[in-house]
C-alpha cells in the first residue's frame, strides 16, 4: 500500500468511519510519516468534535406547520400561471417584437402620410408673400421665432441672477 492511498483514506480513518485493515496497519507500522499524520488528524477530529450544534427549538414544528399552511393556502396558478413561465414570457416578448416590427415595416402609409404633411408644409412655405396662405405661414414662423427669443431672454436673466446673488 502506498502513502498516497493511506492519505486519501486518512479523514475516514481518523474519524473512525473506516476500519484499520491489516494492510493499513502494516503500512502504518513501517511508515512514520503516515502514522504521525494519522495521529495528528485524530487529534484534529477530536478538537472539531467540541463544536456542537444546538437542538431544533420546540417551535420548529409549529413554525414549519405555519409555513406549510401558507404554502397550501396559496392560490393555484391556473391558466395565468403560464404567463409566469420564463420560456413563455420570452416567447411572448419575441412575438410582440415581431408584431411591432411588422407594423413599422408595413406602416409605409404612416410615413407616407408624414411625408405628405411635410410636402403640404413645403407647399405652404413656398406660397407667395401677399397671399393669404403665404402671410399666415410667415406669421406662424415669426411667432415661433419670437417665442424662442423670449426663452433665451429668460435664460439670460436667470444667469444674471445667479451671477449676482
Amino acid at each position: 500500500m502506498k502513502c498516497e492511498e493511506i492519505r486519501e483514506m486518512m479523514p475516514d480513518l481518523a474519524s473512525g468511519m473506516a476500519k484499520v485493515t491489516p494492510e493499513i496497519k502494516g503500512h502504518l507500522a513501517g511508515c512514520g510519516a503516515c502514522s504521525g499524520k494519522l495521529e495528528e488528524f485524530r487529534k484534529t477530529m477530536a478538537l472539531l468534535e467540541e463544536w456542537q450544534a444546538p437542538e431544533p427549538s420546540p417551535y420548529f414544528d409549529v413554525r414549519l406547520r405555519a409555513r406549510l399552511r401558507e404554502e397550501v393556502a396559496k392560490p393555484q396558478a391556473g391558466w395565468m400561471g403560464w404567463f409566469r413561465r420564463p420560456v413563455l414570457a420570452a416567447a411572448m416578448t419575441v412575438l410582440m417584437a415581431i408584431g411591432v416590427g411588422m407594423v413599422f415595416s408595413n406602416g409605409d402609409g404612416i410615413y407616407r402620410h408624414g411625408d405628405n404633411v411635410v410636402a403640404d408644409n413645403d407647399v405652404s412655405s413656398q406660397a407667395e408673400p401677399g397671399t393669404a396662405v403665404g402671410d399666415l405661414s410667415a406669421l406662424d414662423k415669426n411667432h415661433d421665432l419670437y417665442s424662442d427669443f423670449e426663452l433665451l431672454d429668460d435664460l439670460q436673466v436667470q444667469q444674471n441672477v445667479s451671477a449676482n446673488p
Partner: protein
C-alpha cells in the same frame, strides 16, 4: 394534497407511517418520498421528524446562527414539499435533500457575507449567535479554563468558516453529518477521488491552523 390532513399529520405523534414502519419491512427514504408524491401525508411528517435535527445542525454550521439555521432548514422542507410531484427516485433521497440544503446555505452565505461579524470571544455573555448557554462553564472549571475553552471554540468555528466553500461543505458533511465520500461527492457533483483529495486538503489545513489548540 389536502392541506388540513397534512397539518394534522405533521402534528400527529407518532405518524401513521412511523407506526407502520415499526413492524414492517423498512422503507428507503426514496420510497417514503414516493409515498409523499402519491399523497401520503404521514410520509412527509416522517421525513421531517427524521431529518430536522441533521438539517438544523448542518445549517447552523453553515449559517452560524440558530434562528437562521432553523429558518433555512424549514425552507429545505418546504422545497421538498413543493417538489413532491416532480420527484424521481433516481438519486438517493439524502443526496437530493442535501443538494437543496447546500444550495440554500451557499446562497445565504453569499448574500450575507458582508453582514457577518468576525467570530468573537466573550467571557461574561451567553453565545450571541445561539442565544443558548452552550458554553456554560462547568462548575469544576476555573475562569481561565473557561476562557481557553471559549477561545478554542471560536477558533474552530472561525477556521472552519474560513475554509474555501467546497472544503467547508465537505468537512461539515463528513465530520458533522457523518456522510461518506460517495455521498459527499454526489452532493457536490464531484468525483469520489476529487472529494477525497478535497477533504484531505481541508483537514490538513485545519490541522495546521488549529495546532496550537491540539
Amino acid at each position: 394534497m389536502d392541506g388540513s390532513v397534512l397539518m394534522a399529520s405533521l402534528g400527529s405523534r407518532p405518524g401513521a407511517l412511523q407506526t407502520a414502519l415499526a413492524g414492517a419491512e423498512p422503507y428507503t427514504d426514496a420510497e417514503v418520498m414516493l409515498r409523499v408524491k402519491a399523497g401520503d401525508e404521514s410520509a412527509f411528517d416522517y421525513l421531517v421528524q427524521k431529518y430536522r435535527r441533521p438539517l438544523v445542525s448542518f445549517m447552523y454550521r453553515m449559517a452560524r446562527n440558530s434562528a437562521v439555521a432553523e429558518d433555512l432548514a424549514q425552507e429545505v422542507f418546504l422545497r421538498v414539499y413543493r417538489s413532491r410531484q416532480t420527484y424521481e427516485a433516481s438519486a438517493k433521497f439524502t443526496t437530493w435533500l442535501y443538494r437543496i440544503a447546500t444550495n440554500l446555505a451557499v446562497n445565504h452565505a453569499r448574500d450575507t457575507r458582508k453582514e457577518r461579524p468576525e467570530v468573537t470571544v466573550s467571557l461574561d455573555e451567553p453565545d450571541e449567535e445561539t442565544g443558548t448557554t452552550m458554553d456554560v462553564r462547568d462548575a469544576s472549571m476555573t475562569v481561565e479554563e473557561s476562557m481557553v475553552r471559549r477561545e478554542r471554540l471560536a477558533a474552530i468555528r472561525g477556521k472552519v468558516e474560513a475554509l474555501p466553500e467546497r472544503q467547508r461543505l465537505a468537512v461539515i458533511m463528513h465530520k458533522y453529518q457523518q456522510m461518506d465520500y460517495k455521498q459527499i461527492a454526489e452532493v457536490l457533483k464531484l468525483s469520489e477521488s476529487a472529494t477525497k483529495s478535497l477533504l484531505f486538503r481541508a483537514y490538513e489545513s485545519l490541522r495546521e491552523q488549529l495546532k496550537e489548540f491540539i
